[in-house]
Symmetry: C2
Subunit: 171 residues, 2 copies
DNA sequence: CTTGCAATTGATAATCACTATCAGTATCAA
DNA sequence: TTGATACTGATAGTGATTATCAATTGCAAG
């Protein structure tokens, strides 16, 4: 059986004080509820938990881009009764409403992240894997122009620059 | 049984004169053989046929970006004994050696094209999978500027625009 | 040319990511 | 509280791609 709203904090790491937890989590949960409602969906414990896991991301690696499977596993740790169909379904809904951003790269499964408030692209070092996020309005404008030229209604883009970072250029 | 090297031109469109065919095809075949050898693979009739079909592309739509299935069907028309495993396998080898470029996007199957000499980016329809190629020097310049700004030595990039094509906007 | 053997092939089964189905369950407006 | 309706989890199904393996073939060495 799932936790109800008022005791969802028991799924959080033990070392945090319950004070901190309540304050932080309460804020996020309300936020999540708004997002779910904005899609015209009902609020369920499963969906809140999925959003929480999406939001937390992979704390170890610091990577917010998660596959559906990985997300399902994260969710399972906190509540093993949640089925993966629910995770996939909800992720699809979130992506359709652009509340999460889907990135699919050759061969691999799709990766998802909560759509960041400010858009950014990536500049990745091919040696050390370091990622710089950047934002360039001129490039965005030109992209829109290109799409318009071909009569496309632009819905998204992937811009990844690859290079050698300053550090790796030395060695 | 597969055609041998010396009569492979029988698979070409009938309306071309055999003179034209021999000249054009001879050139391409030698070219293809070089590419296959450069990967350290053996030259087989199947592989030559696959490359030929890849090169010819979809003459009707003018789209060179083909899925593995579509390519398999093209190949099958010319020689129905070629298995689809062979097509997939060879396509994977070609992609690994960057002789073909793979474009994969949300939900749909991968599309492949012989890696073009001149660089271009893609504008992909998320509904039907149609791909438009474009080239925009201003965007390239801005990318270089961004990289310079972060002290990166730029080595490559991926720019994929996603949207709804004019056709799919109607329905 | 033969020949030998490793590379290649095609058929098939398996896998992988994802989706549809459906009976049971939970949400929430009234 | 309640009932229509949305949601859920289990399961089976799909479509693209990959692994397996016995039979075949390319090609280099003789």
């Amino acid at each position: 059986m799932l936790n109800t709203d008022k005791n969802i904090q028991i799924t959080l790491p033990i070392h945090q004080t319950s004070e901190t937890i309540k304050k932080n989590e309460r804020f996020q949960i309300d936020d999540f509820k708004k997002m779910i409602r904005s899609m015209g969906l009902k609020i369920t414990d499963q969906r809140l938990l999925i959003m929480q896991c999406l939001h937390d991301g992979d704390k170890k690696s610091g990577d917010r881009h998660v596959t559906a499977q990985e997300l399902y596993e994260k969710v399972s740790v906190k509540d093993s009764s949640v089925g993966f169909a629910t995770v996939y379904r909800f992720l699809r809904d979130l992506a359709a409403h652009e509340l999460v951003t889907e990135v699919r790269m050759g061969g691999q499964a799709s990766r998802y992240e909560l759509t960041p408030k400010e858009h950014h692209d990536h500049l990745t070092c091919t040696k050390c894997g370091k990622i710089c996020e950047f934002e360039n309005q001129k490039i965005e404008d030109l992209q829109a122009e290109v799409a318009r030229h071909y009569g496309f209604q632009l819905t998204g883009h992937v811009l990844e620059l690859f290079g050698i970072c300053p550090n790796c250029q030395k060695s």
